[in-house]
């Protein structure tokens, strides 16, 4: 069989080629700049982090000096000082998370419920509650430091107590928690406010006709309706506080027992800033912490997962309504 190419075929083929090159050029023009940045500043560090965690650094340069396999990871578990410091800091972080995450969701939920009743001036109150979170942590933290100062702080003088708020482990953690709530719950609060705004009001009327009280309505209408917002809050708050750092840096730098005041991210920062040049360890710690975050997040996801999709809430609501 002899292949023949007519002039028309040849022309369309060439046209096609030209078109393709043209198209690739346009895609490259629009996607290229971001693509390069994404590769250089996102993908490359991720891959390089794995390489770093498998290498040792001799401190004379920023480049890895030797491939050491999983040495950094085994040292994280076996080296007495390294293992103690790191796992203690992970435990300290998780312990704080267990307390602060429920508080950072329940308190904003309560406030959002009050806002959803639309009392006079609710928009103004909403902005006030969100306001502290927009400022630099260093600025708001500095104000707290001065306000709760041991010797001449306003709080100690006003309530006529003398508590060294930042000088003891327990009170320092209390202050960190207070700081996290003061400056950190605004986001959850706004998200939950928006969720409550969108609850179907006709359901409430239907429930009222059936003689439901307020508590029933809350648990069977409001809560199921804002479940997506509660999920967002749970995940972002949890991940946010697993990365707790800035609050500790500004408030707890002068607390005597530093080993009790260092979160996991704090240890990683120390490793990167300090003179030890433990970049390999820092990368390994980062990977360990990242994996812990992923595992806990997946557990949360499985535990809170919807087992049936679709109209589950309505079905449940109707079943509940019928049962009354």
């Amino acid at each position: 069989m002899k292949q023949t190419t007519t002039l028309i075929e040849y022309a369309t083929k060439k046209e096609h080629w030209k078109n393709n090159i043209n198209k690739a050029g346009i895609v490259g023009f629009f996607l290229g700049p971001y693509g390069i940045c994404f590769a250089l500043f996102f993908i490359f560090p991720l891959v390089f982090g794995i390489i770093m965690s498998l290498c040792s650094f001799d401190g004379s340069s920023i480049y890895p000096s030797q491939f050491v396999g999983f040495d950094n990871f085994t040292k994280l578990f076996t080296n007495p000082i390294l293992a103690r410091d790191f796992w203690k800091s992970v435990w300290v972080t998780i312990r704080f998370d267990l307390i602060i995450v429920p508080l950072s969701i329940l308190i904003p939920l309560g406030l959002a419920l009050l806002i959803s009743m639309k009392p006079p001036g609710y928009k103004f109150f909403r902005s006030c509650i969100y306001l502290p979170g927009i400022f630099p942590l260093t600025a708001t933290g500095l104000i707290l430091l001065k306000m709760f100062d041991y010797r001449n702080g306003f709080i100690n003088a006003f309530f006529n107590v003398s508590i060294d708020w930042f000088g003891q482990t327990n009170t320092a953690w209390f202050m960190i928690g207070l700081f996290c709530l003061w400056c950190g719950m605004g986001g959850n609060f706004i998200i939950l406010c928006a969720g409550l705004e969108n609850v179907d009001k006709t359901l409430f009327e239907a429930a009222s006709v059936d003689g439901c009280n307020k508590i029933d309505k809350f648990f069977h209408i409001t809560l199921p309706a804002i479940k997506p917002q509660l999920f967002i809050c749970l995940f972002t708050t949890f991940i946010g506080y697993m990365n707790l750092y800035g609050q500790l840096l500004i408030l707890a730098s002068n607390t005597p027992d530093q080993s009790e005041m260092k979160s996991a991210v704090f240890r990683i920062q120390d490793m990167l800033i300090g003179n030890s040049k433990g970049y390999g360890y820092a990368a390994a710690m980062g990977i360990c912490l990242g994996l812990i975050i992923i595992v806990i997040a997946v557990v949360q996801l499985v535990v809170t997962k919807e087992r049936k999709g679709g109209s589950k809430h309505e079905e449940k609501f109707m079943a509940w309504k019928k049962s009354r």
Binding site: V27, G121, T138, I143, G186, A194, Y245, I250, A282
Partner: protein, 296 residues
Amino acid sequence: MKKNSWLGKNLGKLIAFIVLLLVSLLMLTPIVWGILGSFRHYRDFQSNSSQFFPSWDAFTFDGYQELFSKTTYVEGQGNNWFPIWNWLFNSLIVALGGTLLYLIIAAFAAYAFVFLDFKWRDKIFYFLIGTMTIPGIISTAPQLINMSMMGFYKSLLGLIAPTLGGVYGVFLIRQFFVNIPSDLIENARMDGASNLKIFFKIVLPLGKSALFVQGLFGFMGAWNDVQWAQLIIGNAPRSTWTLAYGLKVISDNSEAYESITLALASAVISMIPILIVYLVAQSKIIEGVANTGIKR
């Protein structure tokens, strides 16, 4: 009877009003105390510390004056100098410059993902979304080395560059672009408009609220950042610091009473630009948090 029923109907609202008022006051108390304190003579903090409001004769501009006069290194004064103009300038460059740069490339990328047709387009986009689940802490250490290798260590570029690879902005802007009716784009194509023209004349005006929201949060995030700043510019000369990081050092140095006014003044200075942004774009910010789930 009638009066009682009015109260009964509105009792919930009344309680809500009172509780919200108290909570709002509580949230604002430290900020107001800090702002008042920045105008308060340091001796008044000692003699009058139980008073929320400073006494009249303690009013002073000393804190601000000192902050703006100790801008250069003086022999024998130790670390007690703060190049506040440099810090303000650096923070503005990082927050404004970085955000604008990111908005441009992210909007271009979002345009490509919505309106251009190429192989594996959606697969690439899903891959991008997938990477958002990777905890950022994994790349902290390698990113620092990455910046060193590129020569961005101890420079403001090292603060801007990592934000340019961010995925969330592209995702957010794409979600807005998807809602633009495709007929508009098709018609413009029929009329022979180029992609650049379509981008600037149709897509950008219709999707600008997405860019605005992303821009606001990008600006606030960059202005407030301390953790990454500490790694990149913490060892750099003072004049390359950002304001948020400089504040940390002012706070460390302010153990002595004489500098409490100065410390509070510097905190207020760092809060003013953010406060202006908040007052101007408050509804957009609140709407943005509500719709997108970004918090800071």
